[in-house]
Amino acid sequence: MLYREAGQFKTSYAADQQLFPIRQDRIGLVLLLAVAFFGIPLFASEYWFSAILIPFLIFALAALGLNILTGYAGQLSLGTAAFMAVGAYAAYNFQLRVEGMPILVSFICAGLTAAGVGILFGLPSLRIKGFYLAVATLAAQFFIVWCLTKFPWLSNNSSSGVISAHNINILGYAFDTPRDKYLLVLAIVALMALAAKNMVRSSTGRAWMAVRDMDVAASVIGIRLMHTKLLAFAVSSFYCGVAGALYAYCYLGSVEPDGFSLDMSFRILFMVIVGGVGSILGSFLGAGFILLLPIFLDITLPFVADLFGLPFSSATVSHIQIMVFGALIMFFLIVEPHGLARLWQIAKEKLRLWPFPH
């Protein structure tokens, strides 16, 4: 009833092609952003900022990057964590070695460096596809981590390879509390998500999708394969690089190469798969699901155990949490293989007709 388009007439092409053609969506999004920017900072505790909201936003950004590559351009990648590592170490080095470098410029440079590395490791995609390409990007994963441990210059000769993020200071304002960092991350993620949403609707995005659906057909209709695929790698790695820089500067504060493991790449891939392949919203939903559900279970299980008088140790809770989590992933993939974003879409369609379905 609330969610109905009746009476919303599109009188110009611009109105028809805008990002969110339905008025309720626009209002919803503005409300969501208002809550995120103004509501949450008023009420959330430090725990919420540093343990839940900041990692959620950063992983959503990384998942968004992978989604551009895998979901839109159809190139499977297992090197996401490595590209994040490039971003983190690049931001650190720009900040360290260039006197007076503004931190935001460092983040952008980190993204550009990651994009360069991404193009390099994207080159095999011109020849190989699917699982074989996944193996080639796996090489990126191992090579970059090896490289960061091997060359001490990259970590400023730290004996252990661990780098420690600098303080964040923008135009004289120090972003040192979790709330400040959250707002910074939120602003960056919101801007980049908006950019991604527009990009995938543009001719670039349509070229990516054409390549994904059938690359021979795409090249027949005049899409340059090399250009398109490498651009996808570059843009995706840029997103991952910025996510990596934020991961180091706004979340952990200090990172080591081994922290950007294959395990992390897989987690981000799962976020994309569970959230929805080829969907901007899906990246956020997937990151939320993979990241927040374990914490939620972790906090509620002991309470539930208390309620029924079960003797749960923290190890048991952890085991049960892993089992429940695994079962839920299977459940979602069986019930809705296209991810949470598709569920949301179905809900929307139903809402549009409710309460009078055909």
């Binding site: 441990t149 661990v162 190890a315």
Partner: protein, 439 residues
Amino acid sequence: MIKNFKPAVAAAAVSLAMLSQTAAAADQYFPIPSYRVGAYGANGQAFYGGFIDYLNYVNLKEKGVNGVQMTWEECETEYNNAKGIECYERLKGKAKDSAGPIHTMSTGISYALIDKSAQDKLPLAMMGYGRTDAVDGSVFPYAFPLVTTYQMQASAIVKFIKEKVGGNLAGKKIVYLYHDSAYGKEAIIAMEAEASLNKFSLVQIPVAHPGNEQNAQWLRIRQEKPDYVVFWGWGVMNQTALKSAQKVGFPREKMIGSWWTGSEEDVIPAGDAAKGFMAATWNVAGKQVPVIADIEKVVYGANKGNLQDKAKIGTVLYNRGVSAAVLSVEAIRKGQEKYGKGKALNGEQMRWALENLNITDARLKQIGATDLLPEIKTSCDNHEGSGKVKIQQWDGAKWVPVSGWIEGNKGLIHPLFQASAKQYAKEKGITPRDCSKEK
């Protein structure tokens, strides 16, 4: 769907309410980000088992410290940095009025917590892992790499070898065989400094993680014919190295490992290839230590033991957990002397106590921990407090100490820490405290 959702929301609300509770002021609360599942779960079980058993022991035996009971809460980190931070943030809410030192048993997690814990004024203990330049307490007021560090350990091992070869290392050759990771590289700087000081030649040979294939490395060692191999292994790499050494005929009596190679789990899988192998340790294994035997009697007698597998009592890692708890409890005693007996200490007070520890052998004997760990005396510019290790040898069935407490070359190693801490302070814009003004 909505029906199912309601209890979940209620549960979330209640758990949030639980989060905001704080421990009663009369109890000393320990936030424990522990790990008992995952790849390193077995290590965590032994360490945190020992840690909690000792806290229980203090509660049962002496009714707490001057009447203050020890309480704690665990949170499972799975040795994962992100989970560690989540746990820290969750536990810290309850640690406002009363906080024991936080032991993460993970270098990665402690690195990530160094800045945060200083901001929150909660002391972070890193015993035998973590950021080693935190020895310089003027830059790292809230971080305590207590007892000893990788660099001091390497230096102590070199000292032990020097004694073995008759006091002069000039012209000798030592191979440093290490796990190619942050952990393995940590000691290189100390080995290099020792090599140039003592004029022995140092050959560095890395082993890639996980290290279950070391033929190439050991062929190289056979060619190099070193006098000793100093061995910085981890996990499966340890048993493989011992077996490979046996294969190329390198005597295990000439191999000395770090303290992550010196537990029962490291040598038993290698069978008789491990016999004669030596490793450094800062805490002694076995049940012959009076306090360990007493814990088994008192805590497990009262059926309050933390371990499900009692066979772990007296292993190296269990005793390490007990040692960590002994230091924490002694610090609480020290703090209560200053801030009032029978009161719980908050993070700032705990920090002062850890910085002014003075545990003598006489005191260790009193609590039944004779020779469990070395004497410790900390100060503002020395958060390590000891720098001593013992060398132990595997006789095929158990670890036997073959040396007294050996102190690393402090004059050589500590300036390295200070230089590194200074660089950190500069990068972070920290103004170091003036240690001469601290009391």
